[in-house]
């Protein structure tokens, strides 16, 4: 499992716009870079990131080789109700990882 850093408030006022910052440890091998023996290393990147709030998708991003290693993505969402935010990264070589965080909305 890749190490994940998630930065979001534990609690928020109802209707407030919260900022969510995510980072996942991943080499994002671009597929254009020669290895030590001169052959091009196969592409191994995260192609899709999505965030759902109590099961409803609120944000989605498609990534390409031009995204830096350990992809950092920051976005916002409206705190509508208490519940769970789930974050999913999907990529080459059947990479798939999901993390969840609870949020209390008052």
């Amino acid at each position: 499992m890749a190490r994940v850093l998630l930065n979001l408030p534990r609690s928020a006022a109802k209707g407030a716009v919260i900022e969510i910052r995510t980072l996942i440890m991943h080499p994002m091998e671009s597929g254009f870079r020669p290895g030590t023996n001169g052959t091009i290393l196969a592409r191994d990147i995260i192609t899709r990131f999505s965030c759902s709030y109590n099961g409803e998708q609120v944000f989605q991003a498609e990534l390409s080789s031009a995204i830096a290693a350990n992809p950092f993505i920051s976005f916002t969402t409206v705190a509508t109700e208490s519940g769970t935010l789930s974050f999913t990264w999907e990529g080459d070589n059947d990479f798939r990882q999901t993390e969840t965080r609870d949020i209390a909305v008052t």
């Binding site: 991003a61 390409s64 993505i73 920051s74």
Partner: protein, 144 residues
């Protein structure tokens, strides 16, 4: 001493060994593919990227779109395109009214100094864009 034929062969080899790079035409084609042929208008999009970067491997950037983000009028997508990396696409983010603000921040790679274009798609079907020039002193993608 290098004769002319050897020099020509060497120059040809050097040309073919250069990594594949997208061109401004590829970038324009990728933008057309995203907008479905529509030409995006200038404005409403703000692209915050350092004008001079030392290390092209990690370039922080932030895109902000002026949009009320209501159910009737919101930004549906932000797409980023580059001119001279091997591929013109960088990232595409999709939003709904629940995003609150149309904002995307990420870190990208830059193979060389070039223009970066951000295009925003709105729920009314319009497209808006802006572009920024970035000068890179240490390139990404090429060295191992």
């Amino acid at each position: 001493m290098l004769n002319r034929r050897e020099f020509a062969a060497g120059a040809l080899l050097a040309l073919t060994l250069r990594p594949a790079a997208a061109t401004p035409e590829d970038q324009a084609a990728a933008i057309r593919a995203f907008t479905g042929g529509a030409v995006p208008r200038e404005g409403r999009v703000e692209l915050d990227i350092p004008p001079l970067v030392e290390n092209g491997n990690v370039v922080p950037l932030k895109v902000t779109v002026q949009s009320p983000m209501t159910a009737a009028d919101h930004c549906t997508a932000i797409a980023l395109f580059n001119e001279k990396n091997p591929q013109p696409q960088v990232a595409t983010a999709r939003f709904g009214p629940r995003a609150g603000r149309a904002e995307l921040a990420t870190h990208m790679r830059l193979a060389t100094s070039q223009y970066i274009t951000a295009v925003a798609a709105m729920s009314d079907g319009s497209f808006w864009s802006t572009r920024a020039e970035v000068i890179v002193t240490l390139a990404a993608c090429i060295e191992s």
